[in-house]
Amino acid sequence: MSKGRSFVQQLVLVFFLVVLWVMLWDSVSLMHIITGVILSFLVTRVFYLPPVVLSGRFNIIHAINYGLWFLYSLVIASVEVAWYAFRPRAVGAGSVIACDLRTSSDLLMTLVADTASLIPGSIIVDSDRASGVLYLHVLDSDSEEKVIAAKKLVYHIEELLIKALGSHRDLAALKITPDPLADEYGGAR
């Protein structure tokens, strides 16, 4: 990565930290902005993180599509897990599934993992960064159909995110394997 680009990314990070600081103070004033800028520079220097590699691509329509889909599944799945808690029958066995993601970007992998974690019914147990595999625990998945449905959900999240902010390489990977489950299950599905 060139030096200029990482400087711009630093500025973006500082900008968002200043916005956060001003929001915490509940009012916009010159004093808050100045202290915010000073603190943000200090924080980014003291707690240095490896720079997040952005793909340089962002599709607002697909991002909105992703956001709406996320809210919709959050509602549906929350009700579902709440029902599991209240229903008389105890919850069934779960499964740990492996999802071999098509993307190789750290940012996208994190976002897919976060989304899958926030949508009730699946949590991340482990991840293999080198080969891009996520291991998720799925609640109440004691049949082959439920396991496949859970995998489908994770790949759908990945597809939405790649369309919203994936790199051109990820988009190409998406085109090559539009349905990773078909490879895994010999085209049965």
Partner: protein, 131 residues
């Protein structure tokens, strides 16, 4: 009036979802299932309560604070559940009977088999302290 009713309903639903989280924590069978209950339904519950507060106090200062609360919740919950789930899995705090399928165990087995094969090829022999 209508706004009051909407926020009352939202707070009630948020409370029910948080209650569901507590009930699930008690009733689910193993650590990994309980992680679902402790982390999940109340994300939406908190969101509803925050929206209800925003309806009651529609001022910028309130809304920005609520936005911060929600975004921190959304950012920290996956990390927290991931850390507990991963620690639980690695220290083998699981009930095998509560797992229908475990593809992570299959992957671990494959990795171990590779390692043993590699050691044999190098002529190191297996480590007596292993496994």
């Amino acid at each position: 009036m209508i706004l009051d009713i909407i926020s009352a309903v939202l707070i009630l639903l948020g409370g029910v979802l948080s209650l569901a989280a507590a009930v699930g924590l008690l009733r689910f069978g193993d650590l990994l299932s309980r992680m679902h209950a402790s982390a999940k339904p109340q994300v939406l519950g908190l969101l509803m309560v925050c929206v209800a507060i925003a309806i009651q106090y529609p001022a910028w200062s309130t809304v920005t604070t609520l936005a911060i609360i929600i975004s921190f919740q959304l950012v920290t919950i996956p990390v927290a559940t991931h850390m507990v789930g991963r620690a639980g899995y690695r220290t083998k705090h699981l009930r095998r009977s509560m797992l229908y399928r475990d593809e992570l165990a299959e992957a671990v087995d494959r990795a171990e088999a590779r390692e043993v094969a590699w050691e044999r090829r190098k002529g190191i022999g297996t480590d007596p302290n292993d496994g």
